[in-house]
Symmetry: C2
Subunit: 396 residues, 2 copies
């Protein structure tokens, strides 16, 4: 039995109920000491030697293996670094090389825009008449035809929390001869994922949400073990070379997943991420999932009972949801500003969505009830109408 | 008159002479406090709000403008983020889009391998018969023909310190109708660079060498002002979108250099980099250059007088060198290990090069003389023959 919640391992501002760990996870208490260690003792004292003495060079793999433990990826199948958008591009370019006879990339209209933008950029770069199709999420299954080279989906919808059936869609993709890429941005650390069982060729994800790696923490990419030695990295940087320091004239990819590394890894952020991953030690994702469902069901009951103006924008069936609940409201932007001012932090997503994330590592049922009370007051008293909440910030 | 050296602004290990700032710059004293501020006060207390309240969203541009001040790039022409390899890919892909009628990418055999590897990966991705040519550095000028779409060169050779003539080569590239990309990895903060005067279309660089941004600090990319509104980013992520938070279905690039941003920026590392850039405030690159030449000339004189077994592998004319001096020696690997053990830190580059970087911000003539004395002893007494120095580390 996991010892949940692990709230005391996080530094959370006094009085705040943080329901936005699906956007930026909170600060692990040990992150600062680890950063200080890396900065003062490793960088400051060891200088260039730290690549060996502090094993900076091995850090990306170590962290990747830790992430793998949460998403059903065997040791050595996950490379870390860069940003999620870069890893999407890399997975997509590699997948397209596996199906050169086909011209269609299939995603859905609910996918996170950056994934679709990266696909558009790749299509422009290749410039051979590739086509990106984005049917509604509900219509994806039937859109998987034998024209499709790659199916690229985000498992949990960033707006609504709706969750795709990873097994069924991967099976359908393979039955149609397509390569499957899963974006786990809202899955890793949120819901149980079994990448090996899914048989998907690729997965990508970010680590600053449910994994609490900090703002701009590095991303990850998974490749199915049987493909490791043949996958083409597309973004073929020296850190993916079989012998980076031999300074060979031609690229020769590593015979491990490290071939999907590109440039010099961001050591400070990777170290903080590793510290954040320590919190997951011994945590059972099935237990996280059960607790998350309990919290989100409680939240929906409370909000629907207290706030009649809000409309549930997430699937009602918890099995169809990730670890977030969204409500639609015409004035969601000022409403979320008002909630934040009243110490319930969620976020707004255009056009009219308020998102709330459920993270059992540091949230319990009491938090949800307190949050619901505060939310009720903001809507009951129309506090969101305050002019202070109407002006849009640069980041919404 | 700049107040050089600024040694007291860096935290350097007692007794060590650090001649490897061309590989990883040392720790600015204020970096840890800045990291603690970002981690504890911004991430910890402000959480997701820090994107606005701490202006995380504006940080990449602010840092870019600071870098611009050192390389002759006007405000708003440099985007930061990712790694140098990624920025090389992005510049190259964008440049190729500007010369679709041509098939040749021209670089040189002395370019940093990762730049060439990224070009190879892009060529594979585009798969339309593009060709990468890598003549010897001395033969590049005559290899610029009207077949060449893009000339992509690193100004200062990572092995030898040999410096290309940026003006002459850019002029030749343009005369042949080619697009020019400069990699400033060993130039930014090392030698005076005037990007605007060069008229080059693109430049890229890293910030963990002479700019002292820390291990894995973010990279930068410059685009000539007249091209900003038309350049195709290729790696088209949401942070380069004109309205990232509008979550539009299609990519629509920002009408600023920010279009070359890709994913979520690494806030902790960017903040440390910004702190490192503060040290450059009021520093005149002409003065840095004069001091660097003084130091490197002194070093060459001392080493040639004291160590007859070493052969200068850098141009003897300081105007032909960047801010590093390399010596060739058959047993450079163990020799460099011995030097490091005797508190003179440089680095080894395959096959037989010992590199020493000159960084007047924190080095003076006394340091060079002390280093020369230690180096003399290692070679005079054959200390490098010690078996302890023969085993290769993972990072050489």
């Amino acid at each position: 039995m996991t010892d949940l919640p692990k709230k005391e391992l996080f530094s959370l501002p006094e009085g705040v109920i943080y329901l936005d760990g699906n956007s930026l996870g909170p600060l692990p208490r040990k992150a600062r000491a680890r950063a200080a260690q890396v900065i003062d003792a490793e960088w400051g004292q060891e200088l260039i030697k730290a690549w060996n003495t502090a094993d900076w060079i091995g850090l990306p793999k170590q962290v990747g293996d830790r992430i793998g433990g949460l998403v059903g990826a065997p040791e050595g199948t996950i490379a870390t670094g860069d940003t999620l958008s870069i890893k999407v591009y890399q997975a997509l370019a590699a997948a397209l090389k596996m199906r050169l006879d086909r011209k269609v990339i299939l995603s859905d209209s609910g996918n996170f825009p950056s994934d679709l933008y990266m696909a558009e950029g790749l299509i422009e770069t290749i410039d051979k008449g590739l086509e990106l199709r984005t049917p509604a999420p509900e219509a994806v299954l039937e859109a998987i035809t034998d024209e499709v080279a790659v199916v690229m989906l985000t498992q949990v919808d960033y707006r609504t929390g709706r969750m795709h059936d990873m097994q069924a869609l991967t099976r359908a993709a393979h039955a149609a001869g397509a390569v499957m890429i899963w974006d786990l941005a809202h899955s890793a650390g949120a819901v149980p994922v079994d990448l090996m069982a899914s048989e998907a060729e690729f997965a990508v994800g970010c680590t600053y949400k449910y994994l609490n790696g900090g703002p701009g923490a590095p991303a990850f990419i998974y490749v199915r073990p049987d493909l490791i030695e043949t996958v083409e990295p597309a973004l073929s940087g020296w850190m993916g070379h079989d012998a980076p320091f031999a300074m060979e004239r031609h690229y020769r990819p590593a015979m491990t997943t490290e071939r999907l590394r590109i440039g010099t890894p961001p050591i400070v952020q990777l170290s903080i991420l590793e510290e954040a991953m320590n919190i997951w030690e011994g945590v059972d994702m099935a237990e996280i999932r059960a607790a998350s469902i309990e919290l989100s069901e409680l939240f929906i009951r409370e909000i629907e009972a207290r706030c009649p103006d809000l409309t549930l924008a997430s699937p009602r069936d918890p099995q169809q949801r990730g670890s977030q609940v969204s409500f639609a409201f015409d004035n969601s932007y000022p409403a979320m500003q008002a909630l934040i001012a009243h110490d319930v932090i969620g976020d707004f997503r255009a056009p009219d969505i308020m998102r709330f994330g459920f993270t059992p590592l540091y949230l319990d049922a009491d938090d949800i009830r307190v949050a619901a009370g505060r939310i009720e007051r903001v809507f009951r008293d129309g506090l969101w109408r305050d002019p202070a909440y109407q002006t849009r910030s640069r980041v919404t």
